[in-house]
Symmetry: C2
Subunit: 401 residues, 2 copies
């Protein structure tokens, strides 16, 4: 070993790297020159610049010595206080401080949970299609993912029960079931109360964790709130995730986990960077405490309801026969099934040249899904939505012929 | 499986959880009622509240639509631009945008590197004693850690060479060597240029990554800057980590990784939460661009130099014979060896009752170290330093007799 050899870092990588996909999200600035239905990016003009400036001033004048310091591993205390109020008011969740962990977005909450629960080769369950970030996360962990379909009432709980029975019959322990019960990403469907109760019953029967990802529930345009899965569980097996990304500002990178105190302690111990930004936490706490969050959610709900209507109207007016889509009660997404034999990836390449982008459904599947695609109506304005859907419909028509 | 059993999450945990220690850092507020030499917490009164309020206003008025949006996985662009200027000016590092990744503090940078390079059972090398967060990180990864001692000239490179030879002779590939070359945490020593060159030569010979953690280098009180290990390497095997935690505000949770473009791409793909806070990034970029960072570093260097002098003077005036300590040229830490048979953990329990806290050296060791302790002079003011050191010296005297 006395000679100097040429070495590269590639030779040193862990198994984790070999399972990793590309970085999670593109840069939203790149989408700004297109009509973009690609991502769950909030509307740029809705982002509350002036309110965040003011919240920063008040928060730092009040508590700058601690907001600019390292912070507690559970997150900035005043934000935890405000989130407990919000969870009770907006989600009907009765939680205590020991149930709460502030994270870098809900995405970090999910990543920590997967780190805590999943060794490579473990069996987990997930809705399919689902959020593309979850697909990447479960793949990265080396999990064996058993997929559960959805229908108009949400998670197919009979399929879930059947898969659980066969997993356990084969002598394996399912670790968790990942679900997005409100305005699911990407399908837009909401899981009914009866099905939510069944999910909890199954968790109690089979002893797995339910990960309830609820990033969109405050943005409901119609219908009534359905109780959270978390609030239906009395055995500490449901974990609730949410975020400020859609209701205040994705750029503050703040989410939260609600879970049993024991699990919160475990997740905190896996948080290598320590407590999530006290600076961002103090600003968000002031944004809540001042009443701005409640007002802002009302404004956003009206904004996105109009966007939703513009997209659904444009779909109805433009789409050729054979294209099917969902109509969500809230959130950001319409899910589209293309007619037989059409490829969403091929369609995406074509429309992108014409200045329109969307998410091919393959990103939301662990396998397959190329006949599906997701349209987000959060980022493009109404005129762009009308123009973009017309263009997309023409491109589909061209592919069909 | 038709009966409902009592299940707990404990039954579901991964191997990773079994290797995890407690959460990384305590809450600094808890230290405020004590004379605290415990942690590398910046001085609370030095935290630039008014400057951060102003930087936030300017940054959001300039670019709020994007600072409050999701961001690029490498981090907020303007912050990357400013950091390249800072790295050239303050560290002599010539880097390009493709060499840079913004992280949630240097601690996340280290965690991502360990995820990228280390499978359970892999051999890694680390200075010992070292930063307690690194001890926890390497343990959590399940690494087999080969420890390298330090002396007054820094890393013992002959010990490093010898350990590398025997690792490779046993047919194993060392993955990385972790070093803190400036004002090392916890010993305060600085590794000489000759030794830095030797570390790079060894990396080239044996093909491992050097992780250069440089959180403190801007806070030098005397002597001249030594070139970074990063700047001595031409084969892309050295990774440089730093942070705003000590020079702007720990609460913004912003650090950076400088590495080869390939490795930056890999680390970005492991960043589950996507790009680090564009909000915090925009504020920090403005803090740099306005010239405030340079002024603030000058103020902090003067502040901590006085604290350093106060502590060293108090040590000389008060400590009984048999106690030995280091005298750093910068940074936050004095490293203390207790006389034979004294336990720093026992001493810590005694002094804490009297209102003084410090870090027992066991936290900085992978094994042993109870005859050592770390004193930080960053958090306590000069009067507290004088009072605390006198009290600590008395406690040591009491334990000795």
């Amino acid at each position: 070993m006395s000679e100097t050899l040429s070495h590269t870092v590639d030779d040193l990588y862990s198994a984790r790297v070999r399972r990793a996909g590309p970085p999670r999200l593109g840069d939203p600035r790149r989408s700004a020159s297109l009509i973009s239905f690609l991502a769950g990016f909030p509307d740029p003009s809705s982002l509350p610049k002036a309110d965040v400036i003011e919240a920063t001033r008040v928060a730092l004048e009040r508590d700058g010595e601690w907001a600019l310091q390292y912070g507690a591993s559970q997150g900035y205390q005043r934000l935890r206080d405000e989130l407990l109020i919000k969870l009770r008011r907006d989600q009907g969740i009765e939680a205590s401080d020991e149930n709460l962990l502030i994270t870098n977005g809900a995405s970090q909450g999910l990543d920590l949970l997967v780190q805590a629960l999943c060794d490579p080769g473990d069996v987990v369950l997930s809705e399919e299609p689902t959020w593309s970030g979850a697909v990447a996360c479960f793949r990265g962990a080396g999990a064996e993912v058993v997929t559960i379909p959805l229908d108009a009432e949400g998670t197919d709980v009979e399929a879930l029960a059947s898969e659980l029975a066969s997993i356990v019959a084969s002598g394996r322990q399912p670790k968790f079931f990942y679900t997005i019960p409100n305005f699911q990403n990407p399908t837009g469907v909401t899981t009914t109360l009866a099905r939510r109760k069944r999910i909890v019953d199954l968790a109690h029967e089979y002893g797995f964790v339910v990960i309830e990802d609820d990033a969109y529930s405050d943005l409901r345009y119609r219908g009534r709130r359905v109780p959270t899965i978390y609030s239906l569980d009395d055995q500490g097996l449901v974990v609730y995730l949410s975020t400020f990304s859609k209701i205040m500002a994705a750029g503050v990178r703040l989410g939260w986990v609600v879970a049993s105190p024991e699990l919160i302690g475990t997740l905190s111990s896996l948080k290598a960077e320590g407590g999530t930004s006290p600076f961002a936490g103090a600003v968000a706490a002031e944004f809540c405490a001042s009443g701005t969050l409640v007002e802002h959610i009302a404004e956003l709900t009206a904004l996105y309801a109009s966007r939703h209507d513009a997209m659904l109207d444009a779909m109805t007016a433009n789409m050729p026969d054979g294209v099917k889509w969902t109509d969500p009660d809230g959130g950001f997404f319409v899910w589209v099934h293309l007619p037989d034999a059409l490829s969403a990836q091929a369609l995406a390449a074509r429309t992108r040249e014409q200045g329109v982008e969307f998410l091919p459904g393959t990103a939301c599947h662990f396998d397959g899904g190329d006949q599906t695609l997701r349209l987000s109506y959060s980022f493009a304005d109404e005129a762009q939505i009308r123009e973009g859907i017309a263009l997309l419909a023409n491109a589909i028509r061209a592919e069909m012929s």
